[in-house]
Amino acid sequence: MIAEEALVNELKNKETQTKAFEVLVNTYKERLYWHIRRIVLNHDDADDVLQNTFIKVYKSIEGFKGQSKLYSWMYRIATNESLTFLKQKSRKLGVTSAEMQEQLVENLQADVYFEGEEIQLKLQKALATLPEKQKLVFNMKYYQEMKYEEISDILETSVGGLKASYHLAVKKIETYLRAD
């Protein structure tokens, strides 16, 4: 684990900024990619959003006050960028968010970077029926194996609320997967 405070100071200092940013990108690129990918589903879209996330982090680091962890702050930016990206995409296509979610899942069947089988496809269909918050919490907990405290920092929601959302999400997905 990198020493966050030192890294933030280096990121704010013009002389050490480039090197520190390299450390930052190398440390978080994979984790943030998988977080984004599970929201936008498509690899190319995830790539765009990931790059925009890092650029936003680079440009806004001066304004980072250290009230939350750098890690949480970056995840928050990545989450917002992903959700904004999806909203813009649905507006551009002239469809509702729900319709677009269905479309994204349908497209997964032809996606070379989706190696899932029928059960994984069904899982994505189940996830598409969940409210945004439940979907986020489920992915962060079940597949990214994050702690409730970490998710709470990122989504700015109480741990109790998150636990409720997660258990509801698990129940709904299990019911969906068990159904024919």
């Binding site: 190398n26 690899h43 899932g116 496809l121 997967l177």
Partner: protein
């Protein structure tokens, strides 16, 4: 880090605090019909590529010379011709002098007329004796040599017309 004073073994910070949560997650996963892997993959070498792409995007951008710049130079040269012509003809002209022309009228003239001057014609009226291309290339806000050559290559039909001293580029 938590130390065990009897045998000196250590555990990571917060290990026991999160133990229950991790154990419960494991039990939920083992009993669940939800697959342990959700099937997403990324292209080979993607994470090396994305690192380089992000870097390219945060580098300060070099402002490219735009095509319209050459029209500015042409307009400035023409302005010089007009000013000089008017100045020398001032004595012969009883009714109008340069002072009678408003700047807006001069600007409007340049905007509405296609002044198709060749590089040679411009070179005849504008003296470059004290200005060489190297002055621009070596000035404080210097333009990258490759960009300059690329610009000239794309925008000047006959690069030889510029009479560049090629020795300076060797």
């Amino acid at each position: 880090m938590k130390k065990n004073h009897k045998n000196k073994f250590k555990t990571p910070e917060g290990y026991f605090d999160s133990f229950n949560e991790r154990l419960l997650d494991k039990i939920v996963k083992e009993e669940s019909v939800i697959p342990p892997d959700d099937g997403f993959s990324a292209p080979d070498g993607y994470f090396e590529y994305v690192h380089d792409e992000v870097y390219k995007k945060i580098q300060p951008k070099v402002i490219q010379l735009k095509n319209y710049r050459k029209y500015y130079f042409a307009a400035a040269s023409i302005a010089a011709i007009v000013i000089l012509t008017l100045f020398f003809n001032q004595n012969n002209s009883q009714s109008f002098g340069f002072d009678d022309l408003a700047n807006a009228e001069i600007d409007a003239y340049f905007e509405s007329n296609d002044l198709n001057f060749s590089t040679y014609e411009l070179a005849e009226v504008v003296t470059f004796e004290n200005l060489s291309i190297m002055n621009i290339a070596e000035s404080e806000n210097s333009i990258d040599e490759d960009i300059l050559l690329e610009y000239l290559d794309e925008n000047v039909d006959e690069i030889e017309d510029l009479n560049l001293n090629y020795d300076e580029f060797e």
